[in-house]
């Protein structure tokens, strides 16, 4: 019962916060609600026995990505922003589409039961610690994707510099 209660709380909080994120008129508020949302999600990851992912969620998402968003949001003319429409005029269509996708997705996963079990049981992870287990996987089995990810980050640096640089060289 207790786990279900916890889940109920997280589910409620996550859904409400998500809705707040996408409905606030002031983008700064949206970012702030999103920050809170990320903390909730991180807590839920802890609940799912994934401490390292929870840590990343806080460090990278909340600590880095959202800060970036905040910087850019602050470039906006907030006063003007608060006076304009939040949604496009055809927003009900968007609502119907999103609702239909939700219905489709839910009906597809409603009867989902896990039919596979691997070696990383809760005990194993607890024994080895999550960070170590994940780290080992990353540096052995997933070495190749790990290297690609490093290139993606390099691209991001180049891209940010190329696109956001102020002066023209040639």
């Amino acid at each position: 019962m207790l786990p279900k209660l916890f889940f109920g709380y997280f589910a409620f909080a996550i859904i409400v916060l998500s809705l707040l994120v996408i409905t606030r008129r002031n983008p700064v508020h949206s970012v702030m609600w999103m920050l809170l949302l990320f903390f909730q999600i991180a807590s839920m990851y802890l609940f799912l026995n994934a401490e390292f992912i929870a840590a990343i969620q806080v460090i990278v998402y909340a600590g880095a990505i959202l800060v970036l968003f905040l910087f850019v949001v602050l470039l906006l003319n907030l006063r003007e922003e608060l006076l304009t429409n939040r949604f496009i005029s055809a927003w009900p269509v968007g609502l119907v589409f999103a609702g239909a996708i939700f219905a489709g997705a839910v009906s597809a996963v409603a009867a989902f039961v896990p039919n596979f079990s691997g070696q990383y049981t809760v005990d194993v992870i607890n024994r080895e610690t999550h960070t170590k287990a994940l780290g080992q996987a990353l540096y052995t089995d997933f070495l190749f994707p790990f290297e690609i990810a490093s290139l993606i980050l390099l691209i991001a640096i180049i891209g940010a510099i190329v696109l956001a640089k102020k002066r023209m060289r040639s």
Partner: protein, 645 residues
């Protein structure tokens, strides 16, 4: 690999060299490459003929071009007696005409271009005759058509020339459309487009019918007639003959090579090549025979009254091509090919002589303004006279043997329309002799009727032109000697070599007539030939006032003939003008792009309107893009839902 394969590729190499380096490097020497290449081909062709006479044949794929599923097409060569004869015809005429062109085209600023087209044409024609499958045949077929289009429009800044080029191109499309479908039906029926399996299996389909729009159509008739559509277009038979006389806008060597000796005979070659299919369908053969007979009669009557030197010969070509089809239609394919072969020599000769006359007359073509040229250009006169004697069927010359063979086969053959076409053929023989000598008398005899300036300028053509004339003249005289009929040859111990040679490929139907009948047919044809010559002599030498009187007396008939039965006008009224009217009045008002709409009317503008509506969906508005993507996801999900979720 085999040295035969060099035959088509030498001209191809010459084409590439000329087109790449002709303008910058070769310039006035462009002809050397082309002539060497085609002469090389000729030498190999002769060697090939000797090999084939020794019983050798070849059927070899060189390069697999397409292989997909059950469909295979390749560059492949078939060498058999029919190919060997065609090779000789093509390379001999081509070589001589190349040499002639060095004189005729001298000083033209597109000299290298002219020779590169000629080489390309020769390549395509050789690919056509050497093919071992229908795909390559079609390639060669379209290739020669394209070269013909280029060469007719060679003087492209002359409007009539580019119009004639277009006309040839469009008229040929009608025929090729049927031809293309025919090849497709062959593939559907036999599952292959190679000659060998198609012809060997054709017999098994002899009685098969297919349901077409509710009618049961005999399959072999259908295929044969579709293929024949192509022949009608390419060989300028009724009702698609209109392009050939106009094609005379091209340089004269082109008329001689393409529009007399080689390309236009491709239709006859096609029928002969597909004789295993045609022979299975009596209907198709009858259509071929009657088309040939009607065309030959029709074109010969037009030829009687024309005044344009080259056009007379052009109508004569149409008429003689009809003769060849007539032969094929009565089952005498060998006779058809024999006539093709002799005709190539004397008709090419006639054209080249006409070119020589034009050369002397500074481009003048109206025979009413000539006369008495005999003393100024003796070589041209004598060679042209011999060619005319040959075409008129004077005994001993090439035309006599092949024409006689056709008439005898028509008379004695099993064809139900044999006697009828014999009669018309005999009539045509008379007309042919008449108009050929009308041409000779008006051009070379009597008094000069042109301007004083022209008279002063009259001269014999240079050596490079007269030597090919003399060489072709040999062919016009002697080429028939390989087919001396049994009636004459028996006593002298001479066989009908060509009939024996072609027998493995084309068969040789036996006539059902007596020697007496054969003699009668021969004598009649000789008699009408002389009668034609005599009448021409009477009308144009003894009573030069008579033609004019006749023309006024029978002015109705004269006008009909002079205007070529108004066929061009008819087409203009029922096809060209309505199309242009629709294009002008309906399409151009709606859209701005003119040419394409004029070709495919109506539909594009409807689609265009739809397009303009549809492009409004692309609003430039990112949300709409996202919404459409989401809608796409939902559509796909809905589709899956319908397939039982």
């Amino acid at each position: 690999m085999n040295y035969y394969l060099l035959i088509p590729f030498l001209p191809l190499a010459a084409f590439l060299i000329n087109i790449l380096f002709g303008k910058s490097l070769l310039k006035e020497n462009a002809h050397w490459v082309a002539i060497l290449a085609v002469a090389g081909s000729w030498v190999i062709s002769v060697a090939t003929l000797i090999d084939v006479m020794g019983g050798k044949t070849l059927n070899q794929d060189l390069y697999t071009w397409v292989s997909s599923g059950g469909f295979k097409a390749s560059v492949g060569f078939l060498i058999d007696p029919l190919t060997a004869v065609m090779l000789i015809v093509v390379t001999t005429c081509s070589t001589l005409i190349h040499i002639y062109s060095t004189g005729y085209m001298h000083g033209d600023n597109g000299y290298y271009r002219f020779f590169s087209y000629l080489s390309l044409f020769t390549f395509c024609m050789l690919m056509l005759v050497m093919a071992n499958n229908f795909m390559q045949l079609y390639f060669g077929w379209e290739g020669v058509g394209l070269c013909s289009y280029f060469l007719i429009g060679y003087y492209f800044n002359k409007k009539s020339a580019s119009d004639a080029g277009k006309k040839a191109f469009i008229v040929n499309r009608f025929g090729d459309f049927g031809f293309g479908i025919g090849i497709f039906v062959i593939f559907l029926t036999f599952g292959t487009i190679y000659y060998e399996p198609v012809f060997s299996q054709a017999g098994a389909f002899a009685t098969k019918t297919v349901n077409f729009l509710g009618y049961d159509v005999h399959l072999m008739t259908l295929i044969a007639l579709l293929l024949f559509c192509g022949s009608i277009g390419k060989s300028a038979q009724m009702p698609l003959h209109v392009w050939l006389p106009d094609a005379m806008e091209g340089p004269t060597p082109v008329s001689a090579l393409i529009h007399a000796a080689t390309m236009v005979t491709a239709g006859v070659f096609l029928v002969a090549r597909c004789s295993p299919i045609f022979s299975l369908s009596e209907t198709a053969l009858m259509v071929v025979a009657l088309t040939g007979a009607i065309t030959s009669l029709f074109a010969a009557t037009i030829g009687l009254v024309q005044n344009d030197l080259k056009r007379i010969i052009a109508y004569s070509t149409v008429s003689q091509l009809g003769y060849m089809f007539l032969a094929c239609g009565v089952g005498a394919y060998t006779a058809g090919i024999f006539h093709l072969y002799t005709h190539a020599f004397f008709k090419a000769l006639l054209f080249l002589c006409a070119g020589s006359v034009m050369h002397a007359m500074s481009g003048e073509l109206d025979i009413q303004k000539m006369g008495g040229l005999k003393k100024h250009m003796p070589i041209t006169y004598w060679t042209m006279l011999i060619a005319s004697l040959s075409i008129a069927g004077v005994p001993g010359l090439a035309g006599f043997f092949s024409k006689d063979e056709i008439l005898w086969m028509a008379y004695s053959g099993p064809s139900p329309v044999g006697k009828l076409v014999w009669l018309s053929g005999t009539l045509v023989a008379f007309l042919t002799a008449f108009y050929s000598f009308r041409l000779i008398f008006l051009t070379f005899h009597g008094k000069f009727r042109g301007t004083h300036e022209q008279e002063h300028h009259l001269h014999e053509s240079p050596k490079s032109m007269t030597i090919p004339l003399m060489l072709l003249c040999v062919g016009a005289v002697a080429s028939g000697w390989v087919g001396i009929p049994a009636l004459i040859g028996e006593n002298l111990g001479i066989h009908n070599y060509i009939a024996e040679f072609m027998k493995p490929v084309l068969g040789h139907p036996e006539g059902h007539g007596t020697h007496g009948e054969e003699m009668m047919v021969m004598l009649v044809s000789v008699a009408v030939g002389f009668a034609g010559i005599g009448l021409a002599y009477f009308m144009y030498m003894m009573r030069p006032d008579l033609p004019g009187k006749l023309a006024t007396q029978f002015s109705g008939a004269y006008k009909v003939l002079f205007n070529k039965y108004y066929v061009d006008e008819l087409y203009s009224a029922i096809i060209v003008r309505p199309t242009i009217w629709i294009a002008r009045n309906i399409l151009i008002g709606v859209t701005d792009a003119r040419i394409i709409e004029a070709i495919v009317n109506g539909v594009p503008s409807a689609i265009g309107g739809f397009s303009r509506q549809l492009r409004k969906v692309q609003t430039g508005f990112l949300h709409h893009y996202a919404l459409i993507m989401a809608a796409g996801v939902l559509i796909v999900m809905g589709l899956m839902l319908m397939r039982s979720w």
